[in-house]
């Protein structure tokens, strides 16, 4: 083993990690709001709207992320007549794919708040909006936090899929270094360690939320 090769290329790895984190942050920031809309749509009393959102969620959940990306790279160009830029393909795939998982978390969070809590709010003369804002959502967010944090870790790990289109995230960087230096074992161990550490930080954060919640 020669760990020097990892140290020598640490700045490239760091750049890869930064790109991975940027991708992750973008994916979360874009798919969480979309997920909220999907969840609200699914809980809506409008039949067609909840049916549409439910179908979308179920179709997307049954596909692997790589396949969604392949659609955008290979199928969509056939339809629209020109190729989709890599960054756009990755972004759209991430938002479409992860918003579905976020929507399920948000939906179960809202549903975890008892319906009679809404009755209680309304019975004191609060409007529907005020009841949602002051009574339902604060409780829903508390219930969602652990699952949301876990899902964010999954997004981070899922960001490796950008590798497929040659996007310079962490895994792609390290595989290029591995090829160039002929030292795949050291580099993939180091890469695994980096993923492990970031994910560990995430789960520790999730656990903090969980203990906080059980204390309240």
């Amino acid at each position: 083993m020669d760990w020097q090769v990892v140290l020598n290329n640490s700045s490239l790895l760091a750049r890869g990690l930064t790109t991975s984190l940027e991708l992750t942050l973008f994916a979360i920031a874009a798919s969480l709001p979309v997920g909220c809309l999907l969840a609200i749509g699914r809980l809506s009393k409008q039949r067609w709207l909840s049916l549409f959102c439910a179908s979308f969620v179920n179709v997307m959940r049954s596909n692997p992320l790589v396949l969604v990306l392949f659609w955008l790279i290979f199928l969509v160009p056939l339809i629209i007549g020109h190729r989709v830029p890599n960054l756009a393909a990755v972004s759209v795939a991430f938002v479409v794919f992860f918003s579905v998982y976020f929507s399920e978390i948000v939906r179960s969070g809202i549903q975890s708040v008892g319906r009679m809590q809404i009755s209680a709010g309304l019975s004191t003369g609060l409007t529907r909006g005020q009841t949602m804002r002051h009574i339902v959502l604060p409780q829903a967010v508390r219930a969602m936090l652990p699952a949301l944090t876990t899902q964010c870790i999954v997004v981070f790990q899922g960001s490796t899929v950008a590798y497929v289109v040659g996007y310079d995230e962490l895994l792609h960087s390290s595989s290029m270094i591995a090829e160039r230096t002929g030292r795949p074992v050291e580099l993939y161990i180091a890469t695994a360690a980096i993923y492990f550490l970031v994910s560990l930080a995430g789960s520790l954060l999730a656990r903090r939320f969980e203990t906080k919640r059980s204390r309240a």
Binding site: S119, L122, T124
Partner: protein, 246 residues
């Protein structure tokens, strides 16, 4: 006597094929205490929820404090005049007891915080749990939680109070303290509609008893009369069953 504060006329409420309320009519006068009893699933709670517009019914009309509930343009304003207490308290677990009481006065009534807190503390004192104001509901006993819920409804200074099985979720030793609070309210002249299986409370406090079965009002009678000689066989059978258990 003046016009009733609650007028329910031939209300029909269906969930699909199931008829939850079947031509229900009821008048309640100011200052009256009405106990609604009957087997579970007989529509008692549904009737109560029609009175403040939490349920929508298909036929008939409900007029509360001079306003038609079904066509009311400003339900929140009407609901502020109708306090409601639930079986499982429904305190907001993420707020302290005091915040539970002041939320609606501040947000719905527009009272200044200090004024709302003064009112809230006043009612918490009346139900005997002023010392719990800063705690989260989860730390209170069931009886204390229900008293806090009653205080929350009272803080809006309602013209009438609805109780939906207020003691059904309580351990036996806590039922007494909640009933005591309700009796005090009745003595002070509050108009109350109480869905309950507490026949002792009905006998002692209620002016009239309404007996419901399968969505219909089977019998309405002054309390003493209802317990001494129920007119319908169904009410007789119900009383026999419940008094043997109770």
């Amino acid at each position: 006597m003046t016009a009733p504060i609650i007028q329910v006329r031939d209300v029909v409420l269906r969930y699909g094929d199931f008829t939850a309320l079947d031509r229900v009519s009821l008048d309640v006068f100011e200052g009256e205490v009405i106990v609604v009893c009957g087997p579970s699933g007989s529509g008692k709670s549904t009737l109560l929820r029609c009175l403040n517009g939490l349920e929508t019914f298909q036929e008939g009309e409900v007029i509360v404090d001079g306003e038609n509930v079904a066509t009311c343009r400003n339900l929140p304003a009407l609901r502020r005049r109708i306090g409601m207490v639930f079986q499982h308290f429904e305190l907001y677990p993420h707020m302290t007891v005091l915040q539970n009481l002041t939320l609606a006065p501040i947000k719905a009534q527009g009272l200044p915080r200090a004024e709302a807190e003064r009112l809230a503390m006043d009612y918490l004192t009346r139900v005997g749990i002023a010392d719990q104001a800063g705690k989260y509901p989860g730390l209170l006993s069931g009886g204390q939680q229900q008293r806090a819920a009653i205080a929350r409804a009272l803080t809006l200074q309602p013209r009438l109070m609805l109780f939906d099985e207020p003691t059904s979720a309580l351990d036996p030793e806590m039922i007494f303290e909640v009933l005591q609070v309700m009796k005090n309210l009745a003595v002070l002249g509050m108009t109350m509609v109480v869905v309950t299986h507490e026949m002792g409370f009905a006998q002692e406090v209620a002016d009239r008893v309404v007996f419901m079965d399968r969505g219909a009002v089977i019998e309405t009678a002054p309390s003493a009369e209802f317990f001494a000689s129920p007119k319908t066989p169904r009410a007789r059978a119900f009383l026999k069953r419940i008094l043997r258990i109770g």
